[in-house]
Homo-oligomer: 163 residues x 2
Amino acid sequence: MKDLLEDRDAWSMDNCSIARTLEIVGNRTSLLIMREAFFGTRRFDDFAKRVGIGEPAAATRLKELTAAGLLERVPYQEPGQRTRYAYQLTDKGRDFRAVIVALRQWGDTWAADEQGPPVVVRHENCGAEVHAVLRCDEGHDVPVGDSFVDAGPGLVRVGPDSS
Amino acid sequence: MKDLLEDRDAWSMDNCSIARTLEIVGNRTSLLIMREAFFGTRRFDDFAKRVGIGEPAAATRLKELTAAGLLERVPYQEPGQRTRYAYQLTDKGRDFRAVIVALRQWGDTWAADEQGPPVVVRHENCGAEVHAVLRCDEGHDVPVGDSFVDAGPGLVRVGPDSS
DNA sequence: AAGCTGACTTCTTAATTCATAAGTCAGCTA
DNA sequence: TAGCTGACTTATGAATTAAGAAGTCAGCTT
C-alpha cells in the first residue's frame, strides 16, 4: 500500500476518472438535477422549481447534462397539448445512481436532522432499504481501511520534478 | 413506486440529505481534495499541487472540510523539523469513501480513455478490485431499475401550492 | 387567426470562486 | 540569532455562476 502512495508525485492525474467525472457533474446544481432525475422529474419547469434554481441555471445545467449524455431530450405529448420535450435518464445517467445513493447515504448518516431522512430507496422486490456498499470482485465486503490504491493500466508516470 | 413520485411536489426538500451533503462538498475542488485525502495526501502544499489549485483555494477548501469534520488538522514532526500540521481523514471523512469510489467507477466506465483507469482500488486481503454496488438490507443486489423511492421518517409534506 | 402555456432565451446585476504574486509567521538548524 | 522552509494569509483582478425579470417561440385549442 505504501509503495504507490509514497510515490504519489510520480503519477500524472491527467487521466483521472474522478476529475473527468467532476468536469461534467462537479457542481452543486448538476448533482441536484441528477437527484431530481432519479426522483422522477422530467420537465424543465419542475427541475428548476424542485432544485430551487432559476430558469437560466436550469437550462444551462440540463443542456450540459444532455450534451454529456446523462440525460436525453425526448418528445412527449399530453392529450390536447402540443409536443413538448422531457429530460430523462439515459443508461449513462442511470449508472450514476450509485453516486447519488452514496451521497444520500453519507448525508443520512452525518448530516441528517433528528427526524431522519426524508426519503429512502427500497428494493422493488423485497422492500428493504438500499445502500451503497463496497465489494471486491471476489465477493468480499470491503470495510473502511481494508483497501488500497494500486496502479491501473492507464497510469502515466512522470519523472520527479526538479523543484 | 408511482404513488410517491407523482406527488413529488408535496414533499419539501428542506431536509434533503443530498442537498446538505452538497453544501459541504458540492464543488469540484472539495471533491478533488477528498480524492487526494483517500490517495494518502496529508500536507497542505501537496494538496494544492496535486489537485492543481492555488494556495488560497486550497486553504479555503481545507478549512471548510476541517470545519465540517471530514478532515482533521493533526500535528506531526519530522526529525530535525519543527512541528507542522497535516490534514487527515476522520471517521466522517473516511465514510465518504463510497462516494469517491462511485464517482471513480462511473468515470472509469463512461469517461475513461482507451488506456484504462490510472488507478484501481483493491481489497487488502485478496487483491481483487473494489467496486461500489447497491444492495438492500435483505442482502440482495439491486440492479438499476429495481428500486423505488419511498417516504422516510423525516419527510415533510407541504400543501399543494395554489399556482 | 388569436390565445394560451410550457419551454426556453436574453439581459443585467450580484455573488462566488479562482489564480497569481507577494507577503507573514513559526521554530529548528547552523 | 539569522536563515530557511513549509504553511499559510492578503491583495488584486479575472472568470464563472447565479438570480430575477422580461421577452420569444411553437403549436394545439377555440
